[in-house]
C-alpha cells in the first residue's frame, strides 16, 4: 500500500514537472512577419551590443543623432560572454530591440531565427562593404543567408612588440624563426628580468597558435578541418603540431609561458616585462599612443607584425568578420534601424569607432583619420595587420566545446612533451568523430 502511494505521488510529481517544464520551454515567439511598422516622423530605436566600448558607442550615436535628428538611439551594452547568452533569450522572449550586435562566429546561428535576412533591409550600400567579410558572415550561417552586416574583421595570431625596447637593444623585428631566436637570446642576455615572448597558456588560445603556424605552409588547413571534412590526424596538422613545439624546443618560448592565464600576458607586456606579446588584432589599441596614455601603459612605442615564419612558407592569419549589425524580425523601426546600421558601417560611424583599432573596418578602401597612429612602427604594423587580415588563410572559426574539452588540451600535451604530435592528432580525430561534438552536417 505504501509502495503504491509512493508510486502515485512520484507519478504526480513527475507529471507536474513535465507540465511546468512544458510551460517554460515554449521559449516565446519571435520573428513575426506581420510586425506593424512605425510610420511616424520620429523613431526611437533600441540598440543592444557588446562592442565597441560604451564611450565609443556614445560618441558614434551622438554623431548619428546629429545627422538624423528624428531618430533617437537607446543603447544597452553587455559584457561579451553574458551577451552570448542574454541576447538569444531576450529575442526568444520578444524583447523590443531594433538593432543588435552579433558576434559573427559565436552567435549567428543561435540568433538568426529571430533576425531579418539582410537582403530585406540593405541596399546598394552593401556593395561598399569588403566582399570577403560579407561572404564570411554569410557562410557562417547554417542556411548560408546574410543576417548581419559586419563592422569589420579581426584576426590572429599577431605579434606585438615593444618597439622602443627592440630599438634600444639594436634588435630587428624578426621575420623568421632564426631571427626570432637571435632576438630572444639578445633579450635574455641584456634584460634577464624580461620574458622574451608571452601569450596565454589557456587551451582556447592553442588553436590560434597551431593554425597560425601550420597555415604558414598549409593555408586553408583550418577551413578544411573545422569548416570542412578534413581530418585532425592529417600530415599537415601533425607537421604543424611539431613545428609549434619546435619554438619551445629551440628556446624561443619557454614552457613557463604556458602557466600564464587570463590577462596576465597583456599585463606583462604593458608593464614592459615582456618584449613580444602574441594575441589577436583586438589588441591593436596598444599601437595608439593616446590609448596607452589614457590607460596608464608606459610603453614608449609599440609595433605589430605577423608571427615569424617558423619552417618556411608565409605569415598566416585566420580572420573573420566581426561586429555584425542586424535587425530583429520583431522590430517596429526597420527603416530607422537600417539608417543607423548604414551610418555605423560607412565612414561617418567608422571615423568614430575605428580609432579604437579593435576592428579592421569592413568599408572598402577605408583609411584611419590622421593622427590616430603616430610612430612608424605603429603605422606600418597596423598596415601589415590589416593586409594579413584582409587576405586571411582561413576563417577564424572554432568549435568552442571541442576546443575547450579536447583540442586545446591535446595541443598543450604536445608542447609539454606528454604526447607526441601523432598521438594528439589521433585523440583529436577520435573525439571529433565520436558524436559528442556535432559539427558541419551533423548539426
Amino acid at each position: 500500500m505504501r509502495l503504491r502511494n509512493a508510486a502515485v505521488t512520484a507519478a504526480a510529481l513527475a507529471a507536474s514537472a513535465l507540465v511546468l517544464a512544458g510551460c517554460g520551454s515554449n521559449g516565446g515567439v519571435g520573428g513575426s512577419d506581420d510586425v506593424e511598422q512605425n510610420t511616424g516622423e520620429k523613431a526611437t530605436i533600441n540598440y543592444w551590443t557588446w562592442f565597441p566600448p560604451q564611450a565609443t558607442l556614445d560618441a558614434a550615436i551622438a554623431a548619428f543623432e546629429e545627422e538624423n535628428p528624428n531618430i533617437t538611439v537607446e543603447l544597452r551594452t553587455f559584457e561579451a560572454a553574458d551577451y552570448q547568452k542574454q541576447l538569444p533569450l531576450a529575442l526568444s522572449g520578444g524583447e523590443s530591440i531594433d538593432v543588435v550586435g552579433v558576434q559573427v562566429s559565436a552567435m549567428t546561428n543561435s540568433v538568426k531565427d529571430y533576425l531579418h535576412p539582410a537582403d530585406e533591409w540593405t541596399g546598394d550600400w552593401l556593395a561598399d562593404i569588403n566582399p570577403t567579410m560579407v561572404e564570411q558572415t554569410t557562410s557562417i550561417a547554417d542556411d548560408e543567408v546574410l543576417y548581419s552586416v559586419p563592422m569589420g574583421s579581426i584576426g590572429s595570431p599577431l605579434m606585438y612588440y615593444n618597439a622602443a625596447m627592440l630599438e634600444e637593444l639594436g634588435i630587428e623585428v624578426p621575420a623568421t624563426a632564426a631571427e626570432w631566436k637571435v632576438a630572444v637570446d639578445e633579450i635574455k642576455a641584456q634584460k634577464p628580468d624580461v620574458t622574451p615572448v608571452v601569450f596565454t597558456g589557456e587551451p582556447y588560445w592553442q588553436e590560434e597558435m597551431l593554425f597560425g603556424i601550420a597555415e604558414q605552409n598549409s593555408p586553408g588547413l583550418s577551413d578544411d578541418i573545422i569548416g570542412g571534412d578534413g581530418a585532425w590526424d592529417q600530415p599537415a596538422l601533425i607537421e604543424g603540431l611539431n613545428t609549434y613545439k619546435s619554438i619551445f624546443d629551440d628556446g624561443i618560448v619557454g614552457t613557463d609561458v604556458l602557466s600564464l592565464q587570463g590577462t596576465r600576458p597583456s599585463e606583462l607586456f604593458s608593464a614592459g616585462q615582456a618584449a613580444f606579446y602574441i594575441d589577436g588584432s583586438w589588441q591593436n589599441s596598444l599601437l595608439s599612443a593616446a590609448y596607452r596614455s589614457e590607460n596608464g601603459i608606459e610603453l614608449e612605442d609599440v609595433g605589430v607584425t605577423g608571427l615569424p615564419v617558423i619552417d618556411g612558407g608565409s605569415p598566416a592569419v585566420r580572420a573573420l568578420a566581426e561586429g555584425g549589425l542586424a535587425i530583429p524580425a520583431a522590430s517596429k523601426n526597420v527603416e530607422a534601424a537600417t539608417a543607423f546600421i548604414k551610418f555605423m558601417v560607412e565612414a561617418g560611424g567608422a571615423d568614430v569607432w575605428a580609432k579604437d583599432l579593435v576592428l579592421v573596418p569592413s568599408l572598402d578602401g577605408y583609411t584611419l583619420p590622421d593622427g590616430v597612429l603616430e610612430s612608424d612602427a605603429a603605422q606600418q604594423g597596423f598596415q601589415t595587420a590589416s593586409t594579413l587580415i584582409g587576405a586571411p588563410t582561413s576563417k577564424r572559426d572554432s568549435q568552442q566545446d571541442f576546443l575547450n574539452q579536447v583540442e586545446g588540451n591535446a595541443i598543450l600535451d604536445v608542447l609539454r612533451g606528454t604526447k607526441t604530435a601523432e598521438e594528439a592528432a589521433a585523440t583529436m580525430q577520435e573525439e571529433w568523430t565520436s558524436g559528442r561534438y556535432p559539427h558541419g552536417s551533423d548539426q
Partner: protein
C-alpha cells in the same frame, strides 16, 4: 583505566538513547500532530521549494534527451544518446574520478588535520580567536577570488610560490605547477586544505557538548592527551564525522570555482572535475541537452552518496 573508560562511555551511550527516545516516538505519529498552523507555516515554503525543484529537474529531464541550444528552438529528440555519450567520454570519467578523489582528500584532511586543529583550539590555546579567524577566513571569502589569487601564485616564472621557494634557497622545489600533473594535484591539495575552516567549526561546536567530566575522569586515570583525543573524543564525535564527511564530499561536487579559477583544469584537463566539465560542455552550439544529461548523471551520483550517508548515519545512531 579500561574499565573506567568503558563504563563512562556506556553510561553516555545510555544517556543518548534516553535523550533520543522521545524523538523516535514523534516519528511514528502523524506529521500534522502540531496542528494546522504547522501546515500553514510550512506549506508555502514547501510549495516554493517543490515548484523550484520540480521545475528545474523537469526542464533538465526534458532537455537531456534533446539536441538543443539556449533558445530551446529547433530541438532534435535524440533519446538517451546524450547520456551514452557522456558516460563513454573519457574526459567525463576522469573528471568524475577527480571529483571523488578531491572529495576523499578533503575528507581525509578534515578528519585528521581539521579534527586535531579543532581540538587544539578547543583546549583553550592562546589567541584562539585569531586562529579561528585565520582558519575560517578562506571559507568565508568567495572561493573564486581566493582561487584566482592562488592561480597567480602558481605561475612558473614569476609566481609567488616559486619566487618564495627560490628566495628561501629552495629553488630545486620550484615546480611547473600547471604543467606537471603531480604538481597540479599537489597545488589543488593545498588549496583544498585551506577550506578546512568549516570542519573545524563543526568539531569545535560539537566538542563543546561533550561532558567535561569524561575528560576529567580520563585525566585522573592517567590518560595522555593523545589517548584522550584518539580513544575518547574521536569516537564520541562520530556523528560530527559523518556530517563533515557528507558536507565535504557533496561540497566537492560544487567545487567548480576552486578548480576553474586556479588550475582551469590544467594540465591537459587532468584536474577537471564534473563542474568544470559541465561548464565547458555548454560552450558549444546546441549543447544544452548534452550538458543537461551530464548534470543529471552527476545529480544521481550525488543523491546516491547522500542516501548511503543517511543509511550509515542511521546505523551509527
Amino acid at each position: 583505566m579500561t574499565t573506567t573508560e568503558t563504563s563512562t562511555l556506556v553510561t553516555r551511550a545510555g544517556e543518548r538513547r534516553q535523550r533520543r527516545s522521545p524523538a523516535r516516538g514523534v516519528r511514528g505519529r502523524s506529521p500534522f500532530r502540531g496542528g494546522w498552523y504547522v501546515v500553514l507555516f510550512l506549506g508555502p515554503l514547501l510549495l516554493f521549494y517543490g515548484v523550484y525543484f520540480l521545475y528545474s529537474f523537469g526542464i533538465l529531464g526534458m532537455v537531456s534527451t534533446e539536441r538543443v541550444g539556449l533558445t530551446f528552438r529547433n530541438a532534435v529528440d535524440v533519446g538517451m544518446q546524450n547520456f551514452v555519450l557522456v558516460l563513454e567520454d573519457p574526459t567525463f570519467q576522469r573528471s568524475l574520478i577527480n571529483t571523488i578523489v578531491f572529495g576523499l582528500f578533503s575528507v581525509l584532511v578534515a578528519l585528521t588535520l581539521g579534527f586535531i586543529l579543532a581540538m587544539m583550539l578547543a583546549s583553550g590555546v592562546r589567541m584562539r580567536r585569531l586562529f579561528y579567524t585565520v582558519f575560517l577566513l578562506p571559507s568565508l571569502i568567495p572561493m573564486s577570488l581566493f582561487a584566482t589569487v592562488f592561480s597567480r601564485m602558481l605561475e612558473t616564472r614569476d609566481g609567488a610560490i616559486n619566487d618564495g621557494l627560490r628566495n628561501l634557497g629552495l629553488g630545486f622545489l620550484a615546480q611547473d605547477w600547471l604543467g606537471d600533473p603531480t604538481a597540479a594535484y599537489v597545488a589543488i591539495g593545498i588549496l583544498l586544505t585551506y577550506t578546512i575552516g568549516l570542519p573545524i567549526m563543526y568539531y569545535t561546536t560539537d566538542v563543546a557538548q561533550v561532558n567535561a567530566s569524561i575528560v576529567e575522569s580520563a585525566t585522573l586515570d592517567g590518560a595522555s592527551v593523545w589517548q584522550i583525543y584518539r580513544i575518547m573524543l574521536f569516537p564520541l564525535l562520530r556523528t560530527t564525522h559523518i556530517t563533515v564527511i557528507l558536507s565535504v564530499i557533496l561540497g566537492s561536487f560544487r567545487a567548480f570555482d576552486i578548480i576553474y579559477f586556479s588550475t582551469g583544469g590544467q594540465p591537459g584537463g587532468r584536474t577537471d572535475i564534473t563542474g568544470t566539465y559541465i561548464y565547458k560542455a555548454t560552450l558549444g552550439l546546441d549543447r544544452v541537452g548534452y550538458a543537461a544529461a551530464a548534470s543529471i548523471i552527476v545529480l544521481i551520483i550525488a543523491l546516491i552518496i547522500s542516501v548511503v550517508q543517511i543509511i550509515v548515519r542511521r546505523k551509527a545512531s
